[in-house]
Symmetry: C2
Subunit: 408 residues, 2 copies
Amino acid sequence: MKQTDLFVKTLRDSPKDEKSLNAELLLRAGFVDKLASGVYTYLPLGLRVIKKIKNIIREEMNVLGSQEILMPALTPKENWEKTKRFDVAESYKIKDEDFVLGWTHEEIVTPLMIKHILSYKDLPCSVYQIQNKFRNEPRAKSGLLRGKEFIMKDMYSFHQTTEDLNDYYEKVKQAYFKVYERCGLKETYLTIASGGEFTKEYSHEFQAITEAGEDNIYICNNCGLGINKEVKDSKCQNCGNTSFVQKKSIEVGNIFKLFDRYSLPIGLKDEKGNSVLMGCYGIGISRLMGTIVESSNDNHGIIWPKNIAPFQIHLLEIGGNDESVKLKAEEIYQILQNKNFEVLYDNRDEKTAGEKLNDSDLLGIPIRLVISKKTLAKNSVEFKKRESSEVCLIKITDLIKYVEQFSE
Amino acid sequence: MKQTDLFVKTLRDSPKDEKSLNAELLLRAGFVDKLASGVYTYLPLGLRVIKKIKNIIREEMNVLGSQEILMPALTPKENWEKTKRFDVAESYKIKDEDFVLGWTHEEIVTPLMIKHILSYKDLPCSVYQIQNKFRNEPRAKSGLLRGKEFIMKDMYSFHQTTEDLNDYYEKVKQAYFKVYERCGLKETYLTIASGGEFTKEYSHEFQAITEAGEDNIYICNNCGLGINKEVKDSKCQNCGNTSFVQKKSIEVGNIFKLFDRYSLPIGLKDEKGNSVLMGCYGIGISRLMGTIVESSNDNHGIIWPKNIAPFQIHLLEIGGNDESVKLKAEEIYQILQNKNFEVLYDNRDEKTAGEKLNDSDLLGIPIRLVISKKTLAKNSVEFKKRESSEVCLIKITDLIKYVEQFSE
């Protein structure tokens, strides 16, 4: 994409009313726009990141045999009355109508499955969706970490026996770790947490370690299992060890064994009358994007992990409108695109070299290529990884080979 | 996909409370589930169709140079007060909060562009989104044609001059016709309509001709331009002709020249203080899916146009559990998948031949392949196009060539 075709402007200054680092960087870089507290628009570059995260999640959920569906956000009151969650504080209700805006979907997916799980032979099964959720969140001050409207993947599984639920639950844990690894989060722990509104049992959270984290977790020095503050016990529930190290983290996923918490009141059972056992598994996708920004940045801007970067390569033409530089930059842009690289090409005439370099650091695309009069005189481009300060000159003839190597 | 892995069941009987043909067929075939009047869940096969329509629309909007973004559904009251649309009857409001659920997005996109259109040099530009919209729709009795929550593509363009707006508007018209053609709608007319809440000017609608249509349009016998009932004049606004033919149709798109209807009250202007001129362009994606079903079906079920069918091939193994039939069916399934065909494979043991054939007609996948003891004895499979009643035997060795020919 040519940067002259991108309608979005980067901001020189930090937005005044944003205290969280993720929102500040994403707003300045033009990845999102803030419509209201906890309510954001995804601009073209931000939406590209969201789509990449969605695709990674889809791939891993499909491997688990889960089937994608899409439920509505507008959900009838009667569904919530059965499970006694109509008056939960986080739910937005529609004025003068009997609708709740979906903040989770057990109340929708459970009645749906009554129509399709006719026998224990239809078990196990699993469905997921990627959809905007709505939560009345008074503390929406953490940018994408805590939204009134946010993008979520929620998956629900259905089982005949506790063993089968347990088996699936373990597989989901592994799939979640793969998602975080593929999204470039370097250190994520499984922690034991309270079940909240969802279940009386403990739930598990996935906590990404980051300095700016809003949560404190305690990691067992022996086995690496984490424990959340609210359920901190005297010893590790996994290995019995009593020594922990405290870390700051952000929750990036939450999984629950629901058992019959929803199937019983809603009446999801097999032909013998046994309640179907359920699990539910969430990843906040916009929250995950915010967490990645919180944990991968420097003084100059965002540093996107390569699997979810909006583009792989940022090509900067710095020529002060020199025609030969422009022509060569255009040629390289075409060659890279023909090789299926995703390239953002800064072809803007009105920007100085300094402005272009600053914008590039702010946007955080993994590879920066600079072509200028100076580099062109050596038939070269300047190559720099966003995460490193090392700059090297690459012969234009070697460029494709070089870039391919890095992208593997 | 193997049909044993699909959790969805087809329904033998028509749902009692659905009068519209599109909802009846889509519900029976298990493409959607009804949560409430005008509120549907998209099940795996239905979501596959939605995704294909979305991708066709994305491709055509991208050709127009429009950039994809994603705005929130939760939109603050103050945005709607500026344009005097806060109290419009179709808007859902959130109880005890100052939010309106987005039923259109002029009030969101116009303030957004104030931050990015800093000069006439930033014009023209265009953005679009694909998002769930919410409208308080008392007459939600037409299945996917009229939803309280529905999937929509809405695009907004921004211009310095009326000429430029007019030019872009004409390009969008052509892009819309391409979308409908690619989606398999055979007869779509451009009609002149009232501007409704959006503009005092006339707008244009795209009307797909179908017997079961809810609208009556009048097509000029001379030039083919359509006119909607509510603005029917004595003669054609395009060629002056006075003779029309009446047709039944469903609206599948609506485009508006907004001029400064929103930019003026919201304050979107260039550096000289001139209001930016706007156009807006909508396609109801779920509505489009419903329209296609209304216009492409027979007594047995849906007939999906091939570009948007959930799968290209429906492979039925009818063997009464014969091991050799099962093995050969599995082999063909793998071969077709390796050739990148999208195949739904009916491998269900508990269903009779009749049930499988009925389900296949109901689901409406363009190519049906049947393998049975009888066909296997001739090293063949039975080939049938969904839209035709002709059945022919194809040698298994010729199958790929044959199927490729049809799919081109």
